[in-house]
Symmetry: C2
Subunit: 107 residues, 2 copies
């Protein structure tokens, strides 16, 4: 085989995995960090900042966006990427509730 057997897990677990996948690549963490640090909205600056090609950054942005973590505003010919903070906090509380439910019973 090789592909993930997504059908055997609950909806919420698959959702958590999709969220975690956003953070599972350093380029995407860097992009999120960079966007959040900018005073004004940014666009192609990410390419210069991170050191990957424009298509590669664009691809990572798509992954982040597909998870709902971005808002984009058009500003002339460029796109202003911003964080969707509500969704971000949703992620945070999902993970925290998972972590907080987790205890250890032995060892």
């Amino acid at each position: 085989m090789g592909a993930s057997k997504l059908n055997i897990y609950s909806e919420s677990i698959n959702k958590m995995a999709i969220i975690a996948k956003v953070f599972a690549h350093p380029a995407r963490i860097s992009i999120l960090q960079f966007i959040s640090k900018q005073k004004s909205c940014i666009c192609n600056d990410i390419v210069d900042e991170i050191g990957l090609s424009q298509p590669t950054i664009s691809q990572h942005l798509k992954v982040i966006n597909d998870a709902g973590l971005l808002k984009g505003n058009f500003e002339g010919k460029s796109i202003c990427y911003c964080l969707n903070l509500e969704r971000f906090q949703e992620f945070q509380s999902l993970f925290n509730s998972f972590f907080n439910k987790t205890t250890s019973n032995c060892c």
Copy 2:
């Protein structure tokens, strides 16, 4: 190319990505959840519970273990897997501090 260019990111960002990767597969989330729910330590029960083959579970356990999230005690011929709660909490606070530092300045 195809491989991740890990050298262009900071140590802490790469570390976060490695942690996130543990949670980036539903099987691993399920395993963590299952281990934490058990009253007593378990072993091969994970295989029955989750519905993946023994080598596949073993492989996922290795990923979780390599991230430092497990403690293993030998109990007879089987291994008792438990969560390393200290490390788990370390993860939680690392992610929370990332989330909390993240703000949005536009849109």
